[in-house]
Each structure stands twice: as structure tokens, then as C-alpha cells.
Amino acid sequence: MSTMTVKVRVWRQPSPDKEGRLVDYTVGNVVADMSFVEMLDVLNEQLVAAGEDTVAFDSDCREGICGSCGCVVNGVPHGPGTGKTACQLFMRAFTDGDTLVVEPFRAKAFPVLKDLCVDRGAFDRMIAAGGYISANTGAAPDGNQLLIGKEIAEKAFDAAACIGCGACVAACKNASAVLFVSAKVGQLSYLPQGQPERYRRVVRMVDQMQKEGFGACSNEGECEAVCPKEISTLHIQIMQRDYLRSVLRGA
């Protein structure tokens, strides 16, 4: 198999309170079947051999489902192409001699911890602010007692597919998290189980989003374009409608 050499300019930042900068490296022996994060592995092996600290980046499943990995490659969250995470970006997307500029997901609500690792704890706090159905263990009725039409189940799944990676925030010029919040709000409000808490949920989650310092939505659609699960901005409309309704109702 033929190999290529790429130049990688990576954001290096030792800790949240220190300055960061882009550092240039050359990575050889890159093959088309390698994923982008495997290319970073190769770079890190080079650094180990040279006795230098490796580039810190998060990754876990390496199959596009856990949402751990994520960085901006040549200005695009998760890099070129659609419907995939950085771990599912393959080097066949690049050619020999290309330069890859690699930066962390940037947003006020996602402080950089080190190099490409950011703190996405705000996402957990938004889910804790009502992104659930209150169903105590052991108290559930039979699963078939509630009939849910196939279309509804599919629609809920489409929203529930969100992996919480944060690319939507990184892509948005306002660093808004509405796609993330609306995916959860949408999933639960399409399902009959989610109705009792529907209005309370949307208000609490949206309020938490604002508290975390995410920006407002100005309908640019950048979020949908980079979303690895291609979550639709239609959920945002549902969320905004529900939010308005609950504010009007005084929920």
C-alpha cells in the first residue's frame, strides 16, 4: 500500500491557564485506511521516540458513537466530509503533502484543558436540568401497553441519535448549543412517555443552556452541516415552539 506524508499543525496548550500555540509536525507513513485519530497516534509515537510530551486528545470507541473525539481540522469540526466523527475520518480524504491544521473545539462554555481536550461538562449539566423522563426503577408498565407508531419511534430515534460530541457548538459562530438541547427535547416530546414533563423540561434545559454561556441561535445551520449524526435543525423549531408555549402558560 502506498504511503503519504502530511504536515500537521496542532494546537498545543499545557493547561487551561497557560497560553497555547500551533506547533508544526511532519507525519510520514500515513496510509489511506488509517483514521485521523490513528494518524495522531502515529504522531504521538514519534513524540514518544523523541522523548517529548504527546498531543493530548480524547477518544474512546473509535467507531463514531461515544462522542469523545472531536477537534477542528482545517476549520471544520471533525474535518472534511459529512456524517462522521474525527475517528471516522479516514486519511483517504487527504493527499500526500497536505497540511492539516488541528485545533480544539472552541467555545466559552468548553474551556480547553490541554491541547485538544476540552471540558464539555456543560452538556451533562443541561441533561441534569430535566433532560430525562422521571421513571423510577421497577415501577414501569408493560412495554407494549403503550402503543407507539413506527413513524413516531423513528422520529424519536433520529433525535436521540445525538452523541453529545459538541461539534455543533464548535461550528456555530455564536457557540450555541441549541442543536444538542433540541435533540433531547425533541426525542422526549415526540414520545408519549415524555409528555407529562414536556414543558417544564424545555424551560429548565434552555435556561441552563443560557447559564452555561452558550450563545443564541441565529439560524445559520452550520450545526446540522457538521453533525456526525446529521441531526436536523427541525428539532430546534419544535424546541422554540415548546419553549414559547410554556412561557406563555407560565410553566
Binding site: 493530548a56 474512546d60 423522563i133 408498565p141 419511534a153
Partner: protein
Amino acid sequence: MILDGKVPSGPIETKWNTYKDHINLVAPANRRKHTVIVVGTGLAGASAAASLGELGYNVLALTILDSPRRSHSIAAQGGINGAKNYKNDGDSIYRLFYDTVKGGDYRAREGNVYRLAQVSVDIIDQCVAQGVPFAREYGGLLDNRSFGGAQVSRTFYARGATGQQLLLGAYSALMRQVDAGTVKVLPRREMLDLVMVGGRARGLLCRNLISGEYERYAADAVLLCTGGYGNAYYLSTNAGNCNVTAAWRCARRGAYFGNPSFAQIHPTCIPESGTHQSKLTLMSESLRNDGRVWVPRQTGDKRNASDIPESDRDYYLERRYPAFGNLVPRDVASRAAKAVCDEGRGVGATGRSVYLDFADAIKRLGEDVVRERYGNLFDMYQHISGENPYQAPMRIYPAIHYAMGGLWVDYNLMSNLEGLFVLGEANFSDHGANRLGASALMQGLGDGYFVIPYTLGNYIGGTRLEAVTTDHDAFKEAQDAVDKRIKGLLASKGGKSVKELHRSLGRVLWDRVGMARNRAGLQQALKEVTGLRGEYQKNVRVVGEGQTINKQLEYALRVDDYMEFADVLVRDALDREESCGCHFREEYQTEDGECQRNDAEYAYVAAWEFKGRDQEPALHKEPLEFKSAELKQRNYK
């Protein structure tokens, strides 16, 4: 020592209910006085932490990852079993129990498996109530698919992302308890030691993965929900952070390790493409519902798949196992794939893969139906391999996937160390020598939602627990030991990277303790592992510093533990002079190459006690009795 599984007496159908009727309870107002640490927030940990929080316990939940939602369970694709019999095809609790015991080749504990089958029904209901978007039929009823080792359709699924949806359900229940103030989640923390006080598990020491600081937590019980150790083999289908560290550190504190050599090899994974590869990607077993496995009939047939006519193809699973066909259990399917490749009939550039072909399914059902059932798996295959599976068959090969082995636990899910409970993949579990598909999700959630709330209450309610704080000497001793290890590794500036040495270890385990094992090979492996362990100590190179995020250091600590753990893994395979499930000892096979069990001598759980580095571990046995599922030679023909 003969170990007692503490299975309640009485008929198998009533054991669990009778148990629940007679256990100790903790009064609601007293629960918040008890702190419980849950290590790991996958399906087992998240469901346990959420349920215990709901009951009112004060819960701390740790995970290595930056959010509980990212835990490895998220990657499960195919589905979860539940004995609902919604399909009216003859399923029942007994049948799920029987299939699981038989699938595990009669090396699991009957009482536990029966209980698992019983609670499987409640799991589905619980998940639906949380808003898990399971697949539905047009009429609104829950849909099912079939999985290996069963002749009924009892697998519930959410497209090809069942684990994701179940974990997000458990995670939302967990975050609800965070909201309620009963659970505190501690992300980016790695448990590096268990703290024992007065002979009981009373806390742990972990490293804050951001600051590098040591943190001590005291509790009345510790629940280990830290997943499986497949990554000991270097390449596996597991997520990168899966490890044996938490379990192994408990083993070093005296917890017995059960059946460590029972590592499942999954038949349908995307084959290895080069040394850069960091993981092997699973193609869900559900694909075997509609995909047909084949290789060319003749060795050395290099034609394209589409140029090989039906008459020159060998659908070897359908041929050898007509009753179960492509849906034989994983161990059987994996060995069959290895056999045809060993014969020289494998396909692809390396000859180490077989076809999984959807052409017939596409003809029968249409491309749209196939896309609806497996769309995301097909996309993933195409992303990774660059080939379009709607047009040409997938190429697949077996890979390490799941650990049936794990810390030994009794019926209460408590290890031999009082106060240390082990749930999910981390325990030696209900799957014997081979796990059936869609049963790990079931077990993780069964343990967390429906078993531990009772058994933990029984322990806390029935035990006098002295107050323990983190000032206790035992915490200091643990911290000093961890600090010494970390400083030692950081000072190690040898000639090989952690990855290189890990890869070497993986090679030994895959070659000698993989799909086929034999005495000479295992003895050789034991020597090689000892050699590698020594080399690791002398020659590993770890870069970076301790007081910051240092993924190399995290990795170095985990590989250090694999190096010790591999020894007991090999010894276990050597000790078991029989073939069962995933453990295929070439010396013990039937005429047609199937596993030959030896029930008279090996119907036991092997529980290994750590005796010190480079010392032989001690073997303890828990004899297994089969009263409800008759001991038989497995037959899938």
C-alpha cells in the same frame, strides 16, 4: 478452598422471590447515611447508581471518561434480550435461561442465570418508560429480531445503536439523580486502588485525570462496574479506555479472579488492515439474520465474489449446522471461520477473512428494507473499508470482543471481599464459557436496576459498619503505593513505547490463548508473558508529567496491569484440560472438531487468588451443579 456461590435453596423458579422476601432492609431515612461508590458508568454502573440514588443512598459515581454517557456500553449495536414472548414463538423465562446456560457450554451458575432471565422482562419495560426509542412495528408494538444460539425472536433493538439508546436511558436516570442531589458524578477519574479497612472494602484511591492529583473516597460499599478486559489482547472491539486495572487492583487486594481465560471472540468484525490499526470494528451479530457467510469451495480461488457462481461457493455454516445455520453461537462461528481460512479458502488480500453476503436479502427484501434494518452498520463498514456492502459482500473475521471472565462474585454479586460488589462485564458473570448475543446489555442492566438494589441493602442492613474516614492509614498506604508506581513509570526512559510492548503482549495472547489453544503453546505463552513483564519493567518509555492530563501515563499504568494479569489468564487456560465454549483446547475435541467438555473434572468456576508478582497464583474452585438444565453435549446441528 471450595467456594460457595450462596445460591438460595428451593426450586429455581422461586429462589429470587424467596430471597427478596427474607433479606435485610435499610429504612428509607437511614439510606442517605450510607455512602456507596460506583466505579464505572456504563450500563451496569449508571443503572446501579441511578437506582440506588432513587432509593436514597448517597452515591458517588466515577468514570475515566469526560461524561458517563461515553462509556463503552454506548457502542453496543445489535440488541438486548428479554423473555417477553411477544412473538408468540415459544419463548419463556425457562427457555432464555436454558439457551444461556447451554450457550455458555454449562460453565455458568444456574441460580444467577435464572434470575437474569426473570428480570430480563422488567428491563425492557423500564427502558421503554425512560423513553428508549426501541424499534416498533407499524401497529405500535415492540419489534424483535433473532440472535445467535436461539430459535426464538427475543431481541429488542433500536436500529443498530441499541447500546447507545439504553445507555442514554440509564444516563438520563443517573442525571436525574444528580439533579435530585443523591448522586455525585466524578468524571475523568481513574480508580487505582481499593482500600480495605477491617477486612471490608471501604473506599478507593483514584487519580484525577485532569490535575493528576490523588483523591480518596470512603464508603460503606464499593461497586465495581468497570467493564471487560478484552484490550489485554491489544486489538479488540472494545473502546480504547477499557481496561483491567480496577478489577486487577482489587485482585491484588485479595479479590478472586474468575475464569480469566474465557475471552469471547466475535465472528463478525472488519478484518485487520495494517499495524497502524488501533481497534477492530464489530459488525453486529444481527447481520447474521439476513447475511449469509461463505468462502469459495476451492482453495486459492482468487476470483471476485461476484464472479464466483453459486456452485463454487461453500456456505459452510448452513452446511455444517443446518438447524441454526448462520445463527450458531459466536464461538462456533468463529472457529469455523478460522478453520476455512486455515484451509486456505479465506478471502481478501491476506486470506484471513470470509464473506458476509447480503445479495439474497437485498433480492428478497429490497435495498430499502435492508437499509432500514442495518443502514448505520453498512455505512460504518463503508467508511472504514472504503467498499460498498450493498454491492459487494462484506469481508469479516473474528476478533476479541467480550470478557466472560471477571472478578468472582456470589449470588449477591459480592466478591469474596466483603463490601466489594462487581456488576456487568467486570464480574465473571452469567455467561459461562461463551456469551450469547444481546445478553451483555441484559446482564449489565439486570445487575444494576434489579439485583443490586436488593443485595446491597441486604449487606448494609445486615452489617455493623464502623465509621471510616479518608484519614485512615489504609488510605495513606494506598496513596503511597500508587504514588511510587507512578513515579517509577514516569522515570522509566527505556527503549520501547507502551504501545509497542502492549502490541507484543497482544500478539502472544491472540496467537496462543485465542481461538485455539494447546498445552505446549500455553506453556510457551507463560514464558513469553513473563519475559515481556520483565522487559516492561526495564525498558518501557513513558513521557510527560504526573500533574496534568497525561494519556501516556494512564496507558502505561493499564498495560502494567495487563502484564501481570496475562499470567493468570494463561494459567487458567492451561489448567482447564477440556474444551468448552470459547476455550478450545485442541487436545480435547470431538470427531467433527467440536468442543469436548469434561464435566467430571472441570464443571467448576476457576477463581484465582493473587499471591504476589512473579508468584504462582492459588486456584480455588466453585463446583457447578446442573439441576434445571441437563448437562449435554451442545448441538447446533
